[in-house]
């Protein structure tokens, strides 16, 4: 039972991070390699808002989430917008540079010390019992947030006006633009949502057990989950996260804990050999890449 809970928690972490990769790729065909750093930035923003809204943890968390959303928009407006029409590789390299910049900036502002936003907010992290298994409060919250994020995104993309526009822009940007869809608005929205989901993952992980400037590496470990599922499929990201997390948790328990570091990439290699476009990815899209 505990293994099931462990898989669920790890899969939720990977799924929440992976959906950020998918959102941007699906709309603009850009791989955001700064996603891990933007996720970490969300956790640092909690530290900032915790000192601003002392004794008001809910307000501080809401402010950090909002600022994350805004920072995603700012990244698009001041950086990625300039990449429109350029080679995709240039846009990807820009995200690499952005990641380096964010990492350097947070060390300068907050130092590289281990940080505990839960302590800064004055909130605890009790252990909850589910039958014979245990889960911490913030891990349970992470599972809940992941489920509700995917449900909301499904409804938004399927039925929402802007969601439909996002899908249209992803499928055929030229036609979408000719139909009067504001492509820059759509791309900015994708960056906002992507940064928001990544930041939520970063914040909840940090609330559970603290974090350091090494957090972006976890973002990279979630990348195979997105690729396994298919880089342009949210449902695929969810399933990919579940596959990668299951393999990781079971190999830690039954084989060797050291395998946890390579498992996501082993699963990815296996998938690339068998089905390079992922479980639910679109073959044509990947051929183009």
């Amino acid at each position: 039972m505990q293994l099931v809970v462990n898989i669920l928690v790890l899969a939720s972490i990977y799924a929440l991070i992976a959906c950020g990769y998918v959102l941007i790729y699906r709309v603009s065909r850009v791989l955001n390699l700064a996603h891990g750093e933007l996720m970490m930035l969300g956790a640092y923003l909690v530290l900032a808002t915790a000192s601003l809204f002392d004794q008001h943890p809910a307000l501080a968390l809401a402010a950090a989430v909002f600022l994350s959303l805004v920072s995603g928009g700012l990244v698009y407006v001041f950086l990625m917008r300039k990449m429109t029409g350029e080679m995709v590789l240039a846009a990807i390299l820009t995200t690499v540079a952005l990641g380096i910049f964010i990492k350097g900036m947070v060390v300068l502002i907050w130092s590289a010390q281990q940080q505990y936003p839960a302590q800064a907010l004055g909130v605890s992290n009790p252990s909850l019992s589910i039958g014979v298994a245990s889960i911490s409060l913030w891990s349970a919250a992470l599972v809940g947030v992941t489920a509700s994020t995917y449900a909301s995104l499904f409804v938004f993309l399927r039925f929402g006006r802007w969601g439909m526009r996002m899908r249209a822009a992803g499928q055929n940007p030229l036609l979408a633009a000719q139909r009067g869809i504001n492509l820059h608005g759509i791309y900015a929205l994708a960056w906002c949502l992507s940064t928001l989901t990544g930041a939520c993952a970063g914040i909840l992980m940090a609330l559970d057990s603290g974090f350091t400037v090494n957090m972006p590496v976890i973002g990279l470990k979630a990348f195979p989950a997105a690729l396994v599922g298919g880089l342009d499929s949210l449902g695929g990201a969810l399933l990919g996260a579940l596959i990668v997390a299951s393999a990781e948790v079971l190999l830690i328990y039954y084989v060797d804990p050291l395998l946890s570091d390579v498992v996501p990439f082993l699963v990815l290699i296996a998938m690339l050999i068998v089905r390079p476009w992922g479980l639910f990815g679109t073959r044509e899209e990947l051929d183009r890449v």
Partner: protein
């Protein structure tokens, strides 16, 4: 004439040539001031810098100031090598200090040997080359020591366990930590303990619970970890979340004094070679006051290693006299006895063959909920270094 002088000055500056003869002891430090591991090294460097500033403010050593040049290597070997070259050739450092990851040691040692400038390790783990028989140029003041730390920790476990010890181990997947935990596992068998599980955890880990689940299911009544603080503490917290109620002992890194009050767990022990600030020694007050005066962004409790490094530099320079070159400083260090004013359990004594120390002492601390403070549960226990 003026133009020629100006040109000469500019050229000398550009080439990095000293304009005038050194009128200060030049000490060159390369350390991980930025980058992921800087949380361990930057506070120690800050402590060392503050100590040297304090020495300079009170007249320097032998009437001469100490010029401490800090270079950031970001824990990268190539940068450490470039820094060392610059410190030796351009700054004419007579003593080098390393405060960085062990991966920076090899290039720095190579440069130090080429130039025959002594090298002090002042916050990274002491390399084997300072143990007897020591390399003539390398010295170390850092508190933690491979093999001895595990011996001391397991001795504490054995002395405090009620009944048979089933022990679990947690290491980070880096050579140093793995090697020490492998050693501890072997040692535990010779001490009559039963090792039940060993988790080697990769550094970028999203969730420690899967590792802790395996560890807990092995049924240990003690867990020992000798790893960077993040691995130690997150493994412990994951065990507690799973409902494990037994005791854990871990290395007392710089962070431990700020972390024990956060964890508030009476059965989480930390063992270390430095006296924690809860001991309230006069030297602790000195560090607190100096850190406050320097308006440091790091807590004084994280500066002990650097402070001891500063003490060692001052003592070495004092013994070397003035003017001092690298050879004289090395000779002075070979016979140095450093009184750390209680920060360590005994004097740091270097000999011709031993540039580590002749004795190692350990104290053990934990959080006490009844007193709502950190308490000492074992006073200095001494081990001879062979």
């Amino acid at each position: 004439m003026f133009k020629k002088t100006l040109l000469g000055t500019i050229l000398a500056s550009a080439l990095g040539l000293p304009a005038v003869a050194q009128d200060a002891y030049v000490i060159g430090l390369t350390g991980a001031l930025t980058g992921p591991p800087s949380s361990t090294y930057a506070p120690a460097v800050e402590g060392l810098r503050i100590y040297i500033d304090r020495v300079n403010a009170s007249g320097g050593v032998n009437g001469k100031p100490i010029k401490l040049i800090l270079e950031d290597d970001g824990a990268q070997p190539s940068k450490a090598a470039a820094n060392t070259k610059k410190l030796i050739t351009q700054d004419k450092a007579v003593l080098l200090v390393n405060a960085s990851l062990s991966s920076t040691y090899a290039p720095m040692v190579a440069e130090s040997k080429n130039a025959q400038v002594p090298l002090l390790f002042a916050s990274g783990v002491c390399p084997q080359s300072v143990y007897p028989p020591a390399d003539p140029l390398q010295f170390c003041t850092t508190g933690y020591a491979a093999n001895y730390d595990s011996q001391a920790a397991l001795d504490f476990v054995k002395a405090n366990a009620k009944g048979a010890v089933k022990i679990g181990f947690a290491a980070m997947a880096i050579p140093l930590s793995r090697g020490e935990i492998d050693h501890a596992e072997s040692l535990s068998k010779t001490m009559g303990m039963t090792p039940v599980d060993k988790e080697v955890i990769p550094p970028p880990t999203a969730d420690y619970t899967p590792f802790a689940t395996k560890l807990k299911d092995a049924g240990p009544n003690w867990v020992y970890s000798w790893a960077p603080w993040v691995t130690q503490v997150r493994t412990f917290e994951a065990l507690r979340k799973l409902g494990w109620k037994d005791a854990m002992i871990a290395w007392a890194h710089l962070e431990s004094e700020t972390e024990l009050p956060r964890l508030k767990d009476d059965r989480f022990y930390v063992i270390g070679a430095n006296a924690l600030f809860q001991d309230d020694l006069p030297v602790h007050k000195e560090i607190i006051e100096a850190a406050k005066k320097a308006d440091s962004k790091y807590p004084p409790t994280m500066m002990t290693e650097g402070w001891i490094g500063g003490m060692a530099i001052e003592a070495a320079l004092k013994a070397a006299g003035w003017p001092a070159d690298a050879a004289r400083i090395r000779n002075a260090m070979e016979t140095m006895k450093l009184d750390t004013k209680g920060l360590r359990g005994s004097v740091i004594e270097w000999t011709k063959d031993n540039h580590f120390r002749t004795r190692l002492d350990y104290r053990v601390y934990r959080w006490d909920s009844a007193k709502s403070s950190i308490v000492r549960v074992q006073d200095w226990k001494s081990y001879a270094v062979k």
